[in-house]
Subunit: 417 residues, 2 copies
């Protein structure tokens, strides 16, 4: 069953706000087993809204529209629907009563402009909105379901739950869609793709999408099936295949993040950690402390931006800084060991590199980072080279530092991945 989402409002077109309604609607409809193939945004021009409605009716069986149901002059979604469905507006007394009651509850008289919200196309079913003044509408014609919802996210979400999803049940003949995400790091999208080439032959029914994100490429598996158990089993098989061919680069699944995975490992192994950061400037500590309860394992972080602070706070030998330079495996190692010592923690991790845009040389280019892990038994360093952009580099540097911590916690030999 094809579905289209249409959002009405200038603020999406001009980039004033990101389209969170579309994301929420997409997720809800896909989960209900629909195949969402189009998301269209138009502004407040009646002609554009009408055009979008006609196009959608020509290709999608379920259409969900948000926005343009408010009481002001630029709210013309209903007018466009009246034109497209040949359905003139009539005053719905019960809707007007409800709007007046809504204001009365808040101790205010209804502003005159709100009356317009009770003038609704005569063919539409009214979907009651318990959290606002604009009701939703449903046109059912020739097998199409065409929903109009208010644009306020909280109101749209409520109506999706209360009115849209119940009316979709049965439409897909029990078909449901389930998905699973596997998050990778330290591997290029192209290499990952090459490693997973056999996937499509083995799992022709499972969609595999490659989604590049800040820290690395996220793999999303999804399929439609008769029920959640069937889909879950199939996704587990697909995930097992991916773990077999690219498991070394997978650090988390679904809503887990590198920091939440590391947090669980630190807690289960009862280890404490401290950080010594140069190029990431505090981002590693920030990520570690994004997890609620992080004070259980995180004690202290030092952002040693200057060489002097590397020597003074972390005890990095001047000799190493002079011989190998601040951006070197030796300095990274000394920083991790110094953090561990200064904080009295089980583990110290460190970053030193060149985030850019300036400061690079042919031998040490922008994008170069050395990260280190130190505990009682060993010190391990790793080198990575990324790209040009400073903020992205900081994110990627922090990602590989936390991933080194993750692998070190998992294995006796973190370089054996």
């Amino acid at each position: 069953v094809n579905a289209e989402i249409i959002t009405v409002g200038e603020e999406i077109l001009t980039g004033l706000v990101v389209n969170t309604n579309a994301a929420f609607l997409g997720e809800s409809l896909v989960h209900a087993g629909l195949d969402v193939r189009w998301v269209t945004s138009v502004g407040d021009r009646e002609e554009d809204i009408e055009g979008a409605f006609r196009t959608a009716l020509g290709r999608a069986r379920v259409v969900v529209v948000t926005g343009g149901l408010g009481p002001t002059h630029d709210d013309v979604t209903k007018k466009a629907a009246s034109a497209v469905f040949h359905s003139p507006a009539v005053l719905r007394k019960e809707v007007l009563d409800r709007i007046e009651a809504f204001f009365k509850r808040r101790g205010k008289p209804m502003p005159p402009s709100n009356e317009s919200q009770a003038w609704l196309p005569d063919k539409a079913e009214v979907l009651e909105n318990p959290v606002g003044t604009a009701p939703g509408l449903l046109f059912s014609e020739e097998g199409h379901l065409f929903f109009l919802l208010p644009g306020v996210p909280a109101e749209a979400e409520r109506l999706v739950r209360d009115a849209v999803l119940p009316r979709l049940a049965g439409l897909t003949g029990g078909l449901t869609c389930r998905s699973k995400r596997l998050k990778t790091i330290r591997i290029a999208e192209s290499e990952l793709s090459d490693r997973l080439q056999g996937f499509h032959t083995r799992f022709p029914d499972v969609r595999l999408a490659f989604l590049p994100q800040r820290e690395g490429v996220v793999l999303r598996l999804s399929l439609y099936g008769p029920d959640a158990a069937f889909c879950g089993a199939r996704l587990a098989d697909g995930a097992a295949f991916i773990y077999k061919h690219a498991g070394a680069w997978i650090y988390a699944e679904d809503d887990d993040t590198i920091e939440s995975v590391v947090a669980k490992l630190l807690i289960s192994r009862q280890r404490t950690v401290s950080t010594a950061e140069s190029c990431t400037g505090g981002l590693v500590a920030h990520k570690l402390t994004n997890v609620p309860g992080s004070s259980d394992y995180f004690r202290m972080g030092i952002v040693a931006y200057s060489n002097a602070s590397k020597v003074r706070l972390l005890g990095v030998p001047e000799e190493i800084l002079q011989r190998a330079g601040a951006v070197s495996p030796e300095t990274a190692a000394a920083m991790a060991e110094g953090a561990r010592r200064a904080a009295g923690t089980d583990i110290g991790i460190s970053t030193t590199g060149i985030a850019g845009p300036s400061g690079g040389t042919p031998e040490k280019p922008v994008g170069l980072v050395h990260v280190a892990f130190a505990d009682r038994d060993r010190t391990v360093t790793e080198k990575h080279i990324f790209f040009q952009d400073r903020l992205w580099n900081k994110e990627r540097f922090a990602g590989v530092a936390l991933d080194l911590l993750r692998r070190s916690l998992l294995s006796k030999n973190p370089n054996s991945s």
Copy 2:
């Protein structure tokens, strides 16, 4: 000049990610004077992409497409463009060389699948991508400009700046849209709205939007006009009105951030700064070091999460921690002074608070933060109370700490704003 934005990729349709590319593109094109009337998202089905391309060419003079230029099987944007423009793919040697060089710089061989990124429709102009492997493409036909850009936001943004905007100049026959953003902090949206009630009567031609963001509410003024000078003057008048009524809460304009504003002040006043963070966990240092060249003013940051580290690294007296507690003005002050002393910088700033979700008490609820500023002459503390969400609280805490630094740098008395 009508414009359409098309984003390609399942992740938008299924709600996995919000469409930030569309927001960025919309803002850029509107700013260039274009009338963005449609934003369309389709998935990875070639037929849907082709359909979207044909529809767009039938109604928009400028079309900007992002996504689907990667090296994997589900990247079919180029194929769809080849079909629509009757332009078969040919191997572009110079593009292949560039991709190979890209990997060589990172010390890796090019994975085989990346070669596909050098097979490009023969009629398209190649738009070089300095920050990734997928080049952009431009088809110019019958007065239409049809751009294909990579979907990775940093790459799309770079290509918009370097390749798209320069080619749009002159296209709009002089009509332009200009906008100005004024960024506020420490004031609620409703209070801001009340203070600015006279705006619409004084400036009926200027749109004023209230955009709640992480650190505070951003005010966006925009208008269309015959030329940049006219628009600029009108926006300057509007901004002056806003400064008059709410200037105390404005910390930056347009693309400036709290950290870029602070960076400029620190450099112009030749001051150095260090940080002592508890609840923000490194975020203040991370923000300060997001600005290129931050080593000119930032020396060292300490994330003192445990009380022991506050005593040991920052010299906070045990007596203060016991009497006033870790979350107190006294501790914040001692932390800022300790950071300044430990780092040998002109200024120290600090944060101590309760980010949540747990750890709150009736006297010290989740959302409470004390921030402090210390220099040679004075130590100033400030108290703020925000909300429940941990990540948002960290952002807001860091924001008010940096805003205290900003006001302190601007005035002899930072509490006189």
